[in-house]
Symmetry: C2
Subunit: 103 residues, 2 copies
């Protein structure tokens, strides 16, 4: 299983519309990627490791697939539409990581 | 539900022993935290968002709890032992985030 994580850094003065992300963007992603997308998750940053420390990320989104190929084949044809929706909820440039699920 | 994520940045020249992390460190954490720990997860970085881009994080660990209080109350008494185990698998200073699970 692989996991594609999208991190939105917690940067001063930037916007992030969590309602739009959860209720419009993620349903769009799920619809376009279809059955190769095994599951998805969204988190909102609450804090860091020390009391009163800010969260490093204001939001994170995660997409799970059986393989990197499944991600590429399902995401590729819809990349332009999905990436084009980002300005509708944030002006933060996302950081992307592809990971292997170990546990 | 809240999620405590521990990020290990992919830094040149640093070490990370994934076998120790999965088979010794995480079982230690699970044992000490007990039933307040609802589930846990580990991922290994494969790559970034562009072809051939390095993964931002060499490893990530995630712990799920019903509340921030459950995390603090279960982790606090064992923080010294758990944090003291980190040098056994890495010399990377971890970044910690506490998040609210939205989806």
């Amino acid at each position: 299983m692989i996991k594609v994580s999208v991190f939105y850094a917690n940067e001063p003065g930037k916007k992030f519309d969590m309602d739009y992300y959860c209720n419009t963007h993620m349903p769009l992603v799920q619809n376009r990627l279809g059955t190769p997308l095994k599951s998805s998750a969204v988190e909102a940053g609450l804090g860091g490791g020390e009391p009163d420390a800010p969260a490093p990320f204001v939001a994170m989104g995660h997409l799970y697939f059986d393989s990197v190929e499944d991600f590429q084949n399902s995401f590729g044809p819809h990349a332009e539409e999905i990436m084009g929706d980002i300005p509708n909820y944030t002006d933060i440039a996302p950081t992307i990581q592809v990971s292997e699920v170990k546990l």
